[in-house]
């Protein structure tokens, strides 16, 4: 029981840490660019991070608080499912928002779409709660990851930039495929093959690796293109340029 709890705690800590790092950096870039894709992408990880925290609370409640009210437990479970489902929806939305905005980008239309995502996630979580299962959660996550994978592949394949295939985009595509396979294996193991509890452990490794890869991608972009005081053209004047030139030649 202690071992199981330790695994759950470690898994949650890794995922939540990755989500915080991704959300923090994307938030900074959104505050500068006001780019909706960056906003929705970051929000997906905010919802996932919160979802995993609530999930840990749910597990602690199940393992250690025997006398907990079943209604409270159901509400915690509902919150966990709602947040994870919303995370999946926002990831897909970050990839298709541009297409939807081409049709109509009025303030009300955008608000309506966001509200619809929240309501759909809530409805799906309520259905899951009513039939006392997590099947819908798995199916929605599989759909979200699969669809995000197809869209990313399409973007990767049709990108005009030739060097695109050498950037993080390839690794991101692999990460999405890995997440999809991980969820699929976990779904099959949880609902159809009951005798392999270790599959859950492997899925945890898979899932946390995917979050870590995405975090690595964000950090790589942020730090590889980071502002360099010596090289930034915007702070140049001729005096500095001469100094810089001399230093480079000497080196």
């Amino acid at each position: 029981m202690v071992g199981a709890f330790f695994v759950e705690l470690l898994y949650t800590l890794i995922v939540v840490f990755c989500c915080i790092v991704i959300a923090k950096h994307t938030r900074c870039l959104y505050n500068l660019s006001f780019h909706n894709g960056i906003k929705y992408f970051g929000e997906a990880f905010v919802f996932w991070g919160l979802g995993y925290i609530v999930r840990l609370v749910y597990i602690i409640s199940l393992l250690y608080i025997n006398s907990m009210n079943s209604i409270v437990l159901s509400i915690i479970h509902l919150a966990f499912e709602y947040l994870l489902t919303l995370g999946g929806f926002f990831l897909v939305y970050s990839l298709i928002w541009r297409l939807l905005d081409e049709m109509t980008s009025s303030f009300l239309a955008v608000r309506f779409r966001i509200l619809s995502l929240h309501l759909l996630a809530l409805a799906l979580s309520l259905v899951d709660m009513a039939i006392n299962t997590t099947q819908l959660l798995y199916i929605v996550q599989l759909f979200a990851l699969g669809y995000a994978g197809i869209l990313t592949y399409d973007h990767w394949k049709t990108s005009e930039k030739k060097s695109m295939k050498d950037t993080f985009a390839s690794l991101y595509l692999i990460a999405l495929c890995a997440a999809f396979i991980g969820y699929l294996v976990n779904y099959i193991a949880e609902f159809f093959i009951y005798q392999f509890p270790w599959v859950r452990f492997i899925t945890y490794i898979f899932t946390s690796s995917v979050f870590a890869i995405i975090m690595y991608g964000v950090l790589r972009i942020v730090y590889s293109t980071a502002y360099c005081e010596r090289c930034c053209p915007y702070t140049y004047n001729k005096k500095q340029e001469k100094k810089h030139g001399k230093k480079t030649r000497k080196a």
Partner: protein, 91 residues
């Protein structure tokens, strides 16, 4: 036919133009550099002022100049990062 510029690219061009003109540029010069219609230019400049990227300085009664704020400088510094994130994740 030249490809239509993305919103971010237009913002970058406007901010870059101000920077290249020693951080003080007349509206007519900025309009010329930004390569936008007067209507679109007005919308962009108002948006950039509203979001705190640029500020307007009155020199005389009828002479005004645009200059970058700290946030405007920061945008120019992080422009490549923003583009890379959008490109790599297909956002």
């Amino acid at each position: 036919m030249a490809k239509k510029r993305e919103r971010l690219e237009v913002i970058h061009d406007i901010l870059r133009s101000i920077m290249d003109n020693k951080n003080a540029v007349k509206p007519t010069r900025l309009l010329y550099d930004s390569n936008l219609s007067p209507q679109m230019f007005k919308e962009y400049v108002e948006e950039l002022q509203g979001k705190g990227f640029i500020e307007q300085k009155m020199i005389d009664e009828d002479k005004r100049l645009y200059s970058l704020t700290t946030k405007g400088f920061e945008f120019l510094q992080k422009y490549k990062t923003i583009l890379a994130l959008i490109q790599d994740f297909g956002l």
